[in-house]
């Protein structure tokens, strides 16, 4: 089984978010980048396929050269090789078109991606890839088993889970549950050394036109001070929630 894991390179979850250039650009100053948390769950699940079912893993990012350390980290965790499509990932649809071109070219059986990227929160790239390459697609996946060509999956639905069946080739957008937090791997020294030797191929984009474009960014309005209620005056809290906030 040939697996492609899509890796989005995103600011660490603790990052302070600021904008520059007249609020038209994200301020990367002092920002630490990581593998998008959802993609990390998928990469770990891919590692199990590799170890138990002999799969090969390619990791892929659409981005400029600054994302290479993130791809190297994925290689250090255990992916076999990496591809970087040399394009600025500004728009979901065009990123999906770039990835679709790689998928067609490489004939992957299973494409794993995250439910959403925590920077732009589009939640769209995986489904778009699936449609573009005409693979079956499951979103919000919290469990997957592959047996030959058949795939059993679990996805999260409102208030529960749904079990689904399908066949390879597939695109699956995963989240926590596909593996657990405790299963995530920290690259060890050997992995880091080996990652340096593994192939990281840079390919030029198919260059599709962007469908969307950010005009400007804003930060949320600063929050007013909290109204504290004394712990022996619960009636006051109920009064405020009923008469002032009007939520109960």
């Amino acid at each position: 089984m040939k697996i492609l894991v899509c890796i989005s390179h995103v600011p660490d979850t603790t990052s302070k978010i600021n904008f520059t250039d007249n609020d038209t650009k994200f301020d990367t100053n002092g920002v630490q980048y990581v593998i998008n948390p959802y993609d990390e769950f998928c990469l770990t699940r891919a590692m199990w396929f590799k170890e138990k079912q002999g799969a090969t893993i390619t990791v892929l990012n659409v981005g400029n050269a600054t994302t290479e350390p993130t791809l190297r980290k994925a290689l250090a965790i255990g992916a076999d090789d990496a591809i970087r499509v040399n394009a600025e990932p500004n728009d979901g649809l065009s990123v999906a078109k770039e990835i679709a071109a790689v998928v067609k070219n490489g004939n992957y059986d299973l494409v794993l991606a995250g439910r959403e990227s925590i920077d732009y929160n589009g939640g769209m790239v995986p489904g778009m890839i699936a449609f573009l390459v005409d693979y079956h697609f499951v979103n919000g996946c919290v469990g997957i088993e592959v047996d030959g060509n058949s795939v059993m999956l679990v996805r999260e639905i409102d208030g529960g889970n749904e079990t689904l069946s399908s066949t390879l080739p597939m695109v699956v957008a995963g989240q926590k549950g596909i593996v657990e937090e405790k299963d995530l791997r920290i690259p060890n020294m050997r992995g880091i050394m080996m990652a340096r030797q593994k192939p990281l191929q840079v390919v030029e984009p198919v260059a599709s036109k962007n469908a969307t474009e950010v005009q400007s960014y804003q930060k949320p309005a600063p929050k007013g001070a909290v109204k504290l209620v004394n712990s022996d005056n619960i009636d006051e809290l109920i009064n405020l929630l009923h008469n002032e906030a009007k939520v109960i």
Binding site: P37, V125, G160, A211, Q215, V229, N230, I234, I238, I248
Partner: protein, 321 residues
């Protein structure tokens, strides 16, 4: 030309978000000087959408769709949008709609903006404000394709009545085998529980509760308020509560009217996922807990003392209503 809204339903009943997107779609149609059309799948009470401004409802009944199948649903929306010559398609942010939206977008080669929080600020260029960086920022985004898809963030626009006299038209849509490449085998749902996605009120608790055996009072508080229960990430990682309750940046997003956080410190990743709630109440024994900076109301104190008292007082309050 028209604006098309997909009004999502479960078991034949509209979700609340359906009324929100119809309300939103109506305003967009007014901005564009055109008509609003809503499409529904396997719903009988289509007239309910007239209240929110849908002049025309396209009702699709398909016996093959006993459960939600994303590809088939997306195929229906695409075909209806072509018949109705829709230039803007408005979708909600339910789990199912988030699943089908990218499929609709590619099938129409349409630019798609998800997490929209307000009406388009401009029609030409077509510009919508969306949440980015897990609610730590907003981006005014231009959609430049001929066809445009707007996904409205839950509870960001609200439900607005705008009664019209409308018509319901049945439309039959052809689906192909390839629309059924993913099959539903089994659905497991906690019955009778309010889900986080649907809840007006969410009662959430964290590691401050010390152990799973102390969740009785959280569930009771939720019952009194008709609320859904939720938890912080470590609580689900420790197995104290099911994963489905984990909220925050890497869990479920919450956008309820009222969010009550009990024994939760308010880490940046937790806040990122719950900040969209309108009113936040924090109960925490540590006056320095970061959550107080993000909250509207707070009580500094011991949850084991405050929550039982809150339950008793709320019961009395509800009886008096």
């Amino acid at each position: 030309m028209s604006v098309l809204v997909f009004a999502d339903a479960a078991n034949g009943k509209f979700k609340k978000s359906a009324f929100e997107v119809v309300s939103y779609g109506k305003k967009v149609a007014e901005q564009l000087n055109t008509n609003l059309v809503a499409v529904t799948i396997n719903v009988s009470a289509n007239e309910e959408l007239f209240t929110y401004g849908a002049e025309k409802v396209i009702s699709v009944s398909e016996s093959k769709l006993t459960t939600f199948i994303a590809k088939a649903y997306s195929s229906i929306i695409k075909q209806v949008s072509e018949v109705e010559n829709a230039t803007v398609i408005v979708l909600d942010s339910s789990i199912d709609t988030l699943y089908l939206a990218p499929l609709v977008a590619v099938s129409l080669d349409a630019g798609y903006v998800s997490n929209a929080v307000a009406l388009p600020t401009s029609i030409n260029p077509f510009t919508v404000k969306r949440k980015v960086f897990s609610s730590k920022g907003f981006a005014d985004t231009i959609i430049s394709t001929e066809k445009k898809i707007v996904g409205v963030a839950k509870n960001s626009f609200g439900i607005h009545e705008n009664p019209v006299s409308g018509t319901v038209e049945e439309m039959s849509i052809s689906l192909s085998d390839s629309d059924f490449g993913v099959k539903s085998e089994k659905i497991e749902k906690a019955s009778g529980k309010v889900t986080i996605a649907d809840a007006d009120v969410v009662v959430s608790a964290g590691r401050g509760l010390k152990g799973p055996e102390n969740w009785g009072m959280i569930e009771e508080l939720a019952t009194v308020l008709g609320a859904a229960t939720a938890c912080s990430k470590p609580v689900s990682d420790l197995g104290w509560r099911p994963h489905g309750e984990h909220v925050g940046q890497t869990g479920k997003p919450v956008a309820s009217n009222l969010y009550i956080a009990i024994g939760i410190s308010g880490a940046i990743q937790h806040l990122a996922g719950v900040n969209a709630s309108k009113v936040k109440v924090v109960i925490n024994s540590d006056p320095e807990a970061p959550f107080f900076k993000a909250a509207d109301y707070g009580i500094v104190g011991d949850a084991f003392q405050i929550v039982p008292e809150l339950i008793t007082k709320l019961k009395a309050f509800k009886l008096a209503q």
